[in-house]
Symmetry: C2
Subunit: 168 residues, 2 copies
């Protein structure tokens, strides 16, 4: 297994993570999950929890790349500020661990996984399952994190793109 | 010197920090400054720089409290997201160092330092200089960080409030 990628879907209540790797010319699923926080916890406690859980995950799987969604739009400045805090913590956790971080717009992620930049969430989830040969559905946040990791794999030069396109 | 407080005014280009302590019933100025970043640098690089500089500052001055402005409003979601990232990094850096973090609304900070929640920036800067007996003006971001630290001192029970009010 090489070129291990950590995809992150940040959120203050649920931060999804997805890890994939490369075996020959194929993408291989490694692990995914959700770092959960209680909504009644102070933001400091939530950020601390996210940083530490993510730090453990990075230590266990030693990814070489980290991919995270680049969000341009948000419902309102307050939720953007909250999301920004979580994003900042995820990014600095990866950079502190010596991992290079890449950001992808949501449309780019959807385009990479489904071939269509405005695909529905269910379609993205289905394609993640198909591309990584998963035998079960994973939680939405974990699946979204996997889609971001796949996006990075396809945007990097180390994968046989034609083979991936055939699967689609 | 006891009850050392680190005030932080986060920003992706300039993050101000201000350190004050308590000596008897008085506030004492310790240090202030600005962590600067180049606007052309990627956000990952900026966040990494802020985390590491702040980490060094915390190690050098061993604050027991960290105070940071709680921003509710922002010009737009994009700038809120950017500011949020920096806030998240500052908060997690403090929490990772075992420091308790307190958040104060801008109006509360102005109220604490000038007695008026909608005071002008210049008035805040002047009062910071006066309250801490500073013989020169410091950069705006550093001075703002000091005002946040002062706000925490006045909102905690360890200071003689009346004495502070007499100075004003």
């Amino acid at each position: 297994m090489s070129n291990i990628i950590l995809g992150i879907d940040p959120g203050s209540i649920a931060t999804g993570y997805g890890i994939i790797g490369q075996k020959g010319n194929s993408l291989v699923y490694v692990k995914c999950g959700v770092i959960r926080n209680k909504s009644e916890d102070a933001i400091e406690k939530r950020l601390f929890n996210i940083y530490n859980k993510l730090f453990e995950i990075i230590r266990e799987f030693s990814p070489v790349y980290c991919a995270i969604e680049d969000v341009f739009h948000s419902k309102n400045p307050r939720s953007a500020l909250l999301l920004g805090q979580v994003r900042g913590v995820c990014i600095v956790c990866a950079v502190n661990s010596g991992i290079k971080v890449f950001e992808y717009a949501p449309t780019k992620v959807k385009q990479a996984v489904t071939g269509y930049g405005r695909a529905e969430k269910e379609q993205v989830q289905l394609m993640v399952q198909r591309l990584l040969c998963l035998d079960k559905k994973h939680p939405k946040d974990a699946s979204d994190a996997l889609s971001i990791a796949i996006c990075h794999a396809l945007n990097s030069s180390f994968l046989d793109r034609i083979k991936m396109e055939n699967i689609k």
